[in-house]
């Protein structure tokens, strides 16, 4: 009976992981959209469509809009793409890398938001939305790391309940034969 729980546990964990992956993918795509728009307006020298009068432009023209000459919008774009790509690496390394990139993005976004509020004293909703998405991604990717154990084995089932795959198959065969 504990075996069937483990089998069921594995499948629900797989489902949870898949849902987390979809959620991460969706947030990444939105992030890529925002970052692409900001990168495009930066290089095309266009004004950003801004719901807060003047805020976006002030922020985009500030010294903090670039990191050693590289627009932060480009850094954001690279970050979102990297997190999206990390989903394709289906092992522990991929999950932890995704989390690491999201954490860097989230912490740096926090710093930039601090600069917006206290130094530039202007708010750019596009930038804030990107900061929110990076924070979301940090939670989602962290959840994946915690939730899914090494090599895809569900971490939740590791408390002595689980049985190695070969053994599980043997038990399942035996159960089937008994029926």
């Amino acid at each position: 009976m504990s075996t069937s729980a483990a089998v069921n546990g594995a499948t629900t964990d797989d489902v949870v992981d898949r849902r987390l992956q979809i959620a991460i993918g969706v947030v990444c795509l939105i992030g890529i959209g925002v970052a692409t728009y900001l990168t495009y307006t930066h290089y095309a020298k266009l004004n950003v469509v801004c719901p807060v009068s003047g805020g976006c432009e002030t922020v985009q023209k500030s010294v903090y809009s670039k990191l050693d000459g590289v627009p932060v919008a480009v850094l954001g774009l690279i970050g979102y793409i990297a997190i999206l790509l990390s989903l394709a690496v289906r092992n522990e390394l991929g999950r932890i890398a995704g989390f690491g990139i999201a954490l860097v993005g989230c912490l740096f976004s926090l710093y930039l938001t601090y600069r917006e509020i206290f130094t530039i004293k202007a708010i750019c909703p596009w930038c804030v939305s990107s900061a929110v998405m990076m924070t979301l991604l940090t939670f989602l990717t962290a959840w994946r790391v915690v939730r899914v154990g090494p090599e895809g084995a569900p971490a939740a089932a590791s408390n002595g309940k689980t049985v190695p795959r070969a053994e599980r198959r043997r038990i399942e065969r035996r159960q089937a034969a008994r029926r």
Partner: protein, 266 residues
Amino acid sequence: MASRTKQKEEARARRLAEEQARTEHARRQQRIRMVLGTVLVAVVLVVAAVVISSGGGKSGGLQTGTTANSTVTEVNQLLNGIPQSGAVLGNPNAKVTMTYYGDYQCPICKDFTLSGGFPQLVQNDVRSGKVKVVYKAFCTATCNGPNPGVFNTQQVAGLAAGKQSKFWYYTELFYRQQGQENTNYVTENYLQGLAKQISGLNLTQWQTDRNDSTLTSQVNSDQATARQIGVSGTPTLIFQGPKGQATPNSGVPTYAQLEQAIKQVS
């Protein structure tokens, strides 16, 4: 028989479970190390990025190479095509005049010029000919610093560029490469370095004009006027138009606040 097989099976399952638990434990330890390592690397990366970012905003100083090139390009994009005469930027017949009391070493002036409402004001209202900006010198940060005597030298360096209608290029370049307060960064090398970045500036002529006593008098009279009208800090912005006078009530006014002042006086 059946119970014995069952016992055997159970014992085997237990053994396997124990082994499994051990490997799981080792794996978990490794995982924890990996996650902690990732967090550590992330924090180090962000700290480095923050240091670079704040450095760009704070330490400053005369730029060289590609950084200087990109700063010059930014300044050219902002100013090219807008008429200049002495310390005046924009159409001389503009309906509204914004007098900007500033000090080249004042960090709040830098914030206003770079990230406050100023760039947008230039782009929209000065470029269109609606507003002109008149820069007047008023010693604040420099006079609170270790070498107040350099105030006249630095402001005259700007006005000397103004004799070739390039005052605002010099001013923008100064603010964009402003050094950290109290570090005596305004040296002869620094002042000449800025002048060299201005394309089309005749350097020999600029050097000659720096000795023009009328420019020093202009700095002095700017300061006298400032004291007379009660200017106490920089930047102080005074808008004048057909409907009178207005001053945005903020250290680093946003574009919206500047617009409001323009509306009030025009």
